[in-house]
Amino acid sequence: MSVAVAERSAAPPQHALRPVISFHGVSKVYPNGTEALRDVDLAIHQGDFCFLVGPSGAGKSTLVRLLIRDEAPSTGRIFIDGQEVSRMSHRKLPKLRRKFGIVFQDYKLLTRRTVAQNVAFALQVTRPGQRHMREKVEEVLWIVGLEDKLDKFPDELSGGEQQRVAIARALVHRPRIFLADEPTGNLDPDTSWGIVQLLLQINHRGTTVLMATHNREVVDLVRRRVIAIDNGRVVRDEAEGSYLREGTATL
């Protein structure tokens, strides 16, 4: 790894009494009969950094989709910031989604907008008319290390840089929770490590981070909380875990 490991937070996260994310007996069965999640119980506190690991089709992405209410659970209850979202009306979803910053494996950037415009887009959409928009965009691009690429288009950037733009866009409205669904899936190991360091920095500033990943090296190096999902069930939840169960070849 060419990049140094990000500095860990000196103090352990200050857990509020109420978790920022909690799942109570959540199951998700799709209309075609696929059981994506079974009876999941989870509690994630403000300032936590969690890896969500498991093989493809284990239910990681379903869990992320349930969090942002892109899907509703079949049974069970989900709370974000103490507010039940499992039965939330369609009208209230925009406000819920503003609590999250989300990045995906495929970046989802607008190719005809510049880096700065891509980031500003999130502010224009959620807080139209906000003052000092340019400064906010520049600040967040400085955080992700792209302060000199403001006027570039996504196609002119490397994969790692594009993912940084996506991270900047997800951060610019100062979300409470940062969700990363396979953010390093398309990146080489060095670039992946840079992205993970950035997520650790974001977490260091107090944002809760939940990262779904296949990247074994990263999980094993960072040694943070690991929630392993297999076949729709949470099979392991360790405070400082590795990708596989210690001393075994299984999750």
């Binding site: 979803l93 406000k95 989604r97 999250f100 959409v125 139209p128 008319g129």
Partner: protein, 297 residues
């Protein structure tokens, strides 16, 4: 207030920008809408013109002569005439004496010579009716037959064949016009919806991102609706101009062919306004439907 203005600016700016950036798809949409607006406008103007011509023909044909018996008393005739004058189906009634009938007929030289050979005037006096609708003619024909003062051998000049045919032509043209308009309208809604859906589909990532960062449904919708309205307006302006030009040419050509089609300015202006409003409304509605499926989650 600042937020509302900023949202409005964002919607207008995005609509214009998207229209320009996706010029190919946008123009395809405008062309499709324009073609349909042209067909709707054209068929409406054509039906209106045919209707105007037929109404003229109908008025010309809405005459009936009720021939009076030579034995009819003047009092009975006056009585019958006054009753007809007060009938709401009747526009006007005039009394034609035997002499007037002879004078009228004598304008034709062969009839004039025939009358001279006869020595007396065999032509009957008549009541000449103008009625409001062609269909009333058969009713008056039947009523006249029952009157004792009416000539029993030839009660009226009613020609059921011609009248019936003219009636059929008018009904058929009205029905064909209505059916064409309904078909065009249905086709237009389906085509416009699909064109806009294609345009919206090419921007699904943008919609997805907007939803992910927490945009409200209306915030996502407005740029697309404004873009649809802009497309509809452009389509209506272009096709309206073409319809207007084509109508002028049609009226001129028709007059050259002895068919009197008047240039109906009031109808044309109303139609152009309807096409503009309709184009904008259909563009907005098509976009609303097109973007709906992307907002369902």
């Amino acid at each position: 207030m600042r937020q509302v203005l900023a949202s409005l600016w964002f919607a207008l700016h995005s609509a214009g920008q998207n229209f320009r950036r996706n010029l190919g798809v946008s123009l395809a949409g405008v062309f499709t809408m324009g073609l349909i607006i042209f067909l709707v406008g054209g068929s409406l103007l054509f039906t209106h013109s045919v209707d105007t011509v037929l109404q003229g023909q109908e008025q010309n044909a809405s005459h009936l002569k009720i021939y009076l018996s030579d034995n009819a008393s003047l009092a009975a005739i006056t009585n019958f005439e006054s009753r007809l004058k007060h009938d709401p189906r009747v526009i006007s009634v005039t009394f034609e004496t035997k002499d007037q009938a002879q004078q009228q007929a004598s304008q034709n030289p062969s009839i004039k010579s025939a009358l001279a050979v006869l020595g007396s005037n065999p032509l009957p006096a008549s009541l000449n009716l103008d009625v409001r609708k062609l269909t009333y003619l058969s009713q008056f024909n039947a009523e006249a037959k029952a009157m004792p003062i009416v000539d029993s051998t030839t009660p009226t000049d009613y020609n059921s064949d011609v009248i019936g045919k003219l009636n059929t032509v008018i009904t058929v043209i009205e029905w064909v016009g209505a059916i064409i308009a309904i078909i065009l309208l249905t086709i237009s809604i389906v085509i416009i919806m699909n064109t806009i859906r294609t345009a919206v589909y090419s921007r699904r990532t943008e919609i997805e991102i907007m939803k992910l960062v927490g945009a409200t449904d209306w915030f996502v919708r407005w740029p697309f609706i404004l873009e649809g309205m802009l497309g509809g307006l452009l389509a209506a302006i272009f096709s309206g101009a073409v319809v207007f030009g084509a109508y002028r040419l049609f009226v001129q050509a028709a007059q050259g062919n002895l068919l009197s089609v008047p240039f109906d300015t009031r109808y044309t202006i109303t139609l152009l306004i309807v096409l503009l409003v309709g184009g904008v409304a259909v563009g907005a509605f098509g976009s609303f439907l097109g973007v709906r499926r992307f907002l369902s989650a």
